[in-house]
Symmetry: C2
């Protein structure tokens, strides 16, 4: 009986060779953070840069998961492999649960060309945003050509994550106005493509006019990409092919104008900043615990040391 | 003409000798944070520990400032000196403004036994909570026997700051229920004394019953201090003497039971933790700027370095 492999380097070698269990375990290590996550980051970076990421976001109940499932079907019909990261506690991909690797979408559960993974939205000591970036890079490095990132468009972090994709689809519904009022500005800002899903319902035309008006007001440069507004009925698959063709157009536009490169550079700089911040936070937690900390606290409490000098002692070696 | 003194050590010597301008300048340096603030912290710590702090908090419009003013009058009638830190953008002490040293209370503006200072609630790189702690210590170190800290009971940080006093007074009004619903739990937790101000208005008895009921449910130990509920009409001064006698009772209780010592130890530990955290945050900001940072970013963008190794380079010397 083979013992369970836990070394990231060995797991990564297996994952590159197509072992899904190793891939799942690496993703768990990324979620956990710390040394293993760093090792994985170092292994994946040189092998990444080939995948294209598509963010799918919107209010809860907008039909993001159904649309994602329809997109998967569309890609699989062309024999394209696809990975999905679901960062949405309410998504059926995650089964409403919090942690772990769950393949719940009946249509795709047994398809080896589809890899579906949920990410917990809470409990990332290293930060959800950073964990997602590293998870995407891992999927990229093991050879996934398309990565769909589904996030619920509620909460600043989630919207930011969706906006980090190469192409971001914002899913709304007829009469969406009130439901996403709070995040409308944030969603408007990150949208490369708007999808009015459940377009068979009443109010689709008003929603389109509403969006067009907001885009008119948004002061786009004359040569900028104006987010197209599409209509889909994800449950029947209607409009999904056109949506995917529009993603291809946006990819073409981004590539030829240099937008894609600029976005990826920006993301890389953000990632570097996040890594530094998270590690200093981690260091602060380490410093503020343990026996040396207790001893210094006691010296301060006994008036032998002022708190500023005590902090200096704890931070010695750190020019802070 | 004497040049403006800016050296914290010289300013502190003047402030100890009663120079109010030097005291004001030291408080500005504390608000600004950085090296001068640290120096002040080192100077004040050995000379502190004699003042008694009273927090006064409650919803906007509850009459905190009027009550504070009445308390000042009560203390001055006994020839006791008093300092006030107002952390409340809506307070007449601060004139609704954001920064600086303002003495706006007509009754006390010319009284040298009263020192009033507003603290900005925003823009503290070092953290409002830490700046307040250091400001209190400075006032203590220059010999203020009583320090009143008035904060608006809205926002977690402000409520926490009010809760850091030796005795905390929570000011409510008849019919307060809805106004402070969001922060009721937080205010309940920090209250040593409840004051129903504007007690001449309708509903004071219901408010008292409401508070008593909450206290009945709050599972106090049998020997614990049960927050008394007083009634005042701050505008006329009614109830202020009884309030101050109750503060004295709470001080006596805290001192004899050891509660005061435990609270102060807890605060000191919190302060030490905050100092370490703020300094590491500061370090993160320093690291993520400057030419070395730019050069490393470019290496990452040009694929010569992965972001994790780049972060290691930036953090070298910091075991993070």
């Amino acid at each position: 009986m083979a013992s369970r492999v836990t070394d990231p380097t060995a797991l990564f070698a297996s994952a590159v060779n197509g072992d899904r269990g190793s891939l799942a375990r690496l993703l768990s290590l990324i979620e956990r953070g710390g040394d293993d996550a760093r090792t994985i980051g170092r292994l994946t970076y040189p092998k990444s840069g080939n995948a294209y990421t598509v963010g799918i976001t919107g209010a809860p109940g907008a039909g993001k998961s159904t649309l994602t499932s329809a997109v998967i079907g569309h890609l699989r019909a062309q024999d394209l492999n696809v990975a999905v990261l679901a960062i949405d506690p309410s998504s059926p991909f995650t089964g409403g649960a919090i942690l772990g690797d769950r393949v719940r979408m009946q249509d795709h559960a047994t398809d080896t060309g589809v890899f579906i993974r949920s990410m917990a939205t809470r409990g990332h000591l290293g930060g959800l945003s950073l964990a997602t970036t590293e998870a995407i890079r891992l999927l990229d490095a093991v050879g996934c050509p398309w990565i769909l990132v589904e996030t619920v468009g509620v909460g600043q972090v989630e919207v930011e994550i969706a906006g980090k994709a190469d192409t971001t689809i914002v899913v709304v519904n007829p009469g969406w106005g009130d439901a996403v009022q709070a995040n409308k500005a944030g969603l408007m800002e990150i949208a490369d493509i708007f999808v009015i899903n459940k377009a068979d319902r009443k109010g689709a035309d008003e929603t389109r006019r509403d969006l067009e008006q907001m885009l008119d007001l948004s002061d786009l440069a004359h040569d900028a990409w104006r987010p197209p507004i599409l209509q889909t009925t994800a449950t029947s698959g209607e409009g999904v092919e056109e949506l995917w063709n529009t993603v291809a157009q946006h990819r073409e536009h981004s590539t030829t104008t240099g937008l894609l490169q600029r976005r990826r550079s920006f993301r890389l700089r953000e990632e570097l900043r996040e890594i530094v911040e998270r590690r200093l936070e981690h260091r602060a937690r380490e410093i503020c615990s343990g026996s040396e900390w207790d001893a210094l606290q006691n010296k301060v409490l006994e008036n032998q040391l002022d708190p500023w000098t005590a902090a200096d002692d704890m931070l010695k070696g750190i020019k802070a």
